[in-house]
């Protein structure tokens, strides 16, 4: 038969990589400011938060699930971190609290979805509201300021002169999940559960635990993202993060993930998140109004999936 049918699953990642490179090329031609090294560092910095969320979202989507609550988790963990990061409190306390909140929220989502069998869409829509509510209650509805200098350094500091720690965290997380998804038995189980949960169960895989764990991962990473965002903006606001879940979903879909599960590569999450931030960075620099940016984002997303669908149809 046809040789190219074999590598079908990586088609969309490939297409998006090309689109990403074309975008970078065009933007570099249009604006010399875009092509500078420090702007690329900038882009990675701006990708980091959505990128970290996309990694967690990617894991959930690989199992065929969905998590609409990550934006709210960013808000809650960010507010709590900001409240705890005042004055001379050791920064480890807000850091662990934010991550802990993410973990607990993820555990809640995972238990409801996996063990009580409530559809993920419903569960996470519910926890989205619930967690957002907690963020408002805890903060009294207002932004929290007065974050300590030390805490600000978590995301704000640069190493090797120019490289922001924020970017380092992001790349470390991507690398860790590339490793987990590619190399570990657990990672493979995520794919198997997403590909066919019933077949995975018959094969002796503990499907419920795998499903629970991916929501935990999404929660933990959202907690980390919230903590980092608080450090980056030196404040924690209860509205922060609303809509972030959709950006994360957009990133993984652009990156070639199938919403029905089982399909998607680690580099897809990276490419998808980068496509989105290159787009807004480049268009900002060119002075294109944000309204048009929404337009272009929408076209790219639907276009990416279309190319993929058509490609698959043609090869079969």
């Amino acid at each position: 038969m046809k040789k190219n049918a074999v590598h079908l699953s990586s088609l969309r990642e490939f297409v998006m990589l090309i689109i990403l490179l074309i975008m970078v090329g065009i933007l570099s031609l249009l604006s010399p400011a875009f092509a500078r090294l420090n702007n690329f560092i900038n882009i990675f910095k701006q990708t980091a938060i959505n990128g970290i969320l996309a990694v967690g979202m990617g894991c959930v989507i690989l199992t065929g699930g969905f998590d609409l609550s990550v934006g709210s988790i960013v808000g809650l963990s960010g507010v709590v971190a900001a409240l705890l990061a005042q004055g001379n409190t050791p920064i480890i306390i807000p850091i662990l609290s934010a991550i802990g909140i993410g973990g607990v929220a993820g555990l809640l989502n995972g238990t409801l979805v996996s063990y009580l069998g409530i559809p993920a869409f419903v569960v996470t829509l519910g926890t989205q509201n619930f967690i957002r509510g907690l963020a408002y209650i805890i903060s009294g509805g207002r932004p929290v300021f007065g974050v300590s200098r030390a805490y600000e350094q978590i995301a704000g500091m640069n190493i090797f002169g120019q490289v922001p720690l924020l970017v380092v965290y992001y790349l470390v997380i991507v690398a860790a999940f590339a490793f987990i998804l590619q190399k570990t038995v657990y990672g493979r189980h995520i794919y198997l559960v997403g590909g066919n949960a019933e077949a995975a169960r018959v094969s002796g895989i503990n499907v419920k635990d795998v499903k629970l764990s991916v929501y935990m991962i999404a929660g933990l990473l959202a907690g980390i993202a919230g903590m980092l965002l608080t450090s980056r903006t030196v404040s924690g606001s209860p509205i922060t993060g609303s809509g972030y879940e959709l950006d994360a979903i957009a990133a993984v879909v652009i990156g070639g993930f199938s919403l029905s599960g089982g399909v998607g590569k680690w580099y897809g999450m990276l490419i998808g998140a980068l496509v989105l931030s290159v787009l807004s960075n480049g268009l900002d620099i060119l002075g294109v109004a944000s309204y048009y940016q929404y337009l272009i984002k929408g076209i790219i997303m639907v276009g990416a999936v279309y190319i993929d669908v058509r490609g698959r149809a043609r090869m079969q």
Binding site: K2, V6, Q182, K183, Y191, A199, V202, S203, G204, I205
Partner: protein, 498 residues
């Protein structure tokens, strides 16, 4: 030339340079059952898809009733009186029978003089008429979900009748039916034939072909090998024409010494579907499990393996009670379960052959707890070769394989762990003769190595050909055991009816 109802003349079809049909001509007489046989991948379904207008041929003509026609899609085929009943039925389960019968061609009436609305009453009435013609007396308002697969099939036939079909294509219509249901289906087919309707009947079951068909056409590798009257043709002949070689012994049963008791089930129960099932299984033994559809065969297997949580009974391994409440425990204790429905519960269709093969015993392919690419590749290549899985690459998605090759992958994934007890539920359903033979050979090989096999099957010849002993289930209970020396079709059949 109008003697023929349908003529497919010189049909040629290629997919990206790969010729799957080569100058195929098929002529179907009116009022005849015309069997179409061939191994999977021989081009049967492609030919039928061209007839239904799903694919268009690169060359060749379709002549219907002496008129050359162009068929642009299933809807157009339907208008010309050509209807296909697919192997995998896809009714809308939560709609009524009438709604399914009229799906896409809903009867309408005027409402308020402007709107056309669905005429439910007329649809129900006509659906009931059509159902009566196939001997079903269901309320047309009944939901599809409440029907058995056989009944759904009857509804499909009713659908064809209601649309005044001249030619009905049936693709493996009996793959999910019991013998009794098959007999009923055959009665309907004969009745249709007597009314002048032609049937193109695709099946792997050669006994059925000789029973029901008037003519038989054999396809091999995209070419039409032969068309002849069915009467008097021997099955060995058909097999040899299909595979292009003589099969010396179709059931490669090996005589192996039967060892000690390895596995025992005592009083297994699950809801109302499995009641007090007890049996034992020895090393080297192939235990056949027979029964009508709905007798609780698959449910029993699922309850043994922990896929269904049994509410009565115990499982013993090597004489010791084994705690098997979920599949992971069964796997850990050396059991394997090749399920009835490879697509729903056996395979990860969107993953590669390699990833499917290593999916059960993934830990065996790790080094320092990390998945080792080389080990995985070696294992995949080994089983592709051992089971003769036809593919150009181990990375190919399982979805793209033929049914027989998919089934081999579904089996291969269990072999890597060298399990002692292998449950195979309908291991050869809907697959081609060559693949069947390969799977039988593998079963013999496993038995010879001292493994114990449970083989659930609806095909009597297969059970009688391969099993050492047959356990018959009827109405959720064990109705009897038959030893190989006492195998007798009437006896086994008799036990299936309560």
């Amino acid at each position: 030339m109008a003697d023929y109802l349908l003529e497919l003349q010189g049909i040629t079809k290629s997919f990206s340079g790969n010729r799957v049909l080569d100058d195929v001509t098929l002529r179907v007489l009116p009022g005849k059952v015309h069997a179409l046989i061939g191994e999977n991948g021989a081009g049967k379904s492609t030919l039928m898809k061209i007839l239904m207008g799903i694919y268009s041929a690169n060359a060749g003509n379709i002549v219907l009733d002496g008129q050359q026609v162009h068929i642009g899609g299933p809807r157009q085929a339907l208008d010309l009186g050509v209807q296909m009943i697919h192997q995998e039925l896809s009714p809308v389960l939560d709609m009524t029978i009438a709604e399914n019968v009229f799906a896409g061609v809903e009867e309408t009436k005027k409402c308020l003089g402007i709107f056309r609305i669905v005429d439910r009453k007329r649809m129900d009435k006509e659906a009931a008429d059509a159902l009566a013609q196939v001997g079903l007396h269901f309320a047309p308002a009944k939901r599809m979900r409440e029907l058995s697969i056989a009944q759904m099939q009857m509804v499909e036939i009713a659908k064809a009748i209601s649309r005044k079909a001249k030619l009905i294509v049936m693709d493996e219509p009996t793959s999910a039916l019991t013998e009794k249901e098959t007999d009923i289906l055959f009665d309907k087919i004969r009745a249709l034939r007597d009314k002048g309707v032609s049937i193109i009947y695709i099946s792997h079951k050669l006994e059925e072909i000789s029973e029901i068909s008037d003519m038989v056409s054999i396809l091999r590798d995209g070419r039409m090998i032969e068309t002849r009257p069915t009467k008097g043709v021997r099955r060995e002949y058909l097999i040899s024409r299909m595979v292009g070689r003589e099969l010396t012994n179709f059931y490669p049963k090996r005589e192996v010494p039967i060892g000690e008791v390895l596995f025992e089930a005592r009083g297994i129960g699950w809801k109302n579907r499995v009641k007090d099932v007890s049996f034992s299984l020895r090393r080297g033994e192939i235990l056949g499990v027979a029964g009508l559809v709905g007798a609780g065969r698959s449910e029993t297997m699922s309850a043994l393996f922990g896929v269904l949580r049994r509410d009565a009974g115990d499982v013993y391994l090597n004489g010791r009670k084994a705690d098997i409440k979920k599949p992971s425990q069964a796997v850990a204790r050396g059991m394997a379960y090749i399920t009835e429905d490879r697509k729903a519960t056996g395979l990860n269709l969107i993953a590669s052959i390699k990833h499917n093969i290593t999916s059960v015993y993934l830990r065996l392919f790790t080094r320092r707890r990390l998945i080792n690419e080389k080990n995985e590749q070696n294992a995949a290549d080994k089983y592709i070769q051992m089971l003769k899985i036809r593919t150009e690459s181990r990375e190919k998605r399982v979805q793209l394989l033929s049914g027989g090759n998919q089934q081999k992958v579904a089996i291969a994934k269990w072999l890597a762990g060298d399990p002692d007890i292998v449950i195979m539920d309908e291991p050869t359903r809907g697959i081609d003769v060559g693949s069947k033979y390969d799977i039988y050979a593998l079963m013999g090989e496993l038995a010879a190595r001292g493994k114990a096999i449970i083989m659930v099957s609806s095909e009597m010849p297969e059970l009688m050909g391969m099993a050492d002993r047959i356990m018959v289930l009827a109405d959720s209970r064990v109705s009897g055991f038959v030893e190989r020396k006492d195998f007798n079709q009437e006896k086994i059949l008799g036990l299936q009816f309560v």
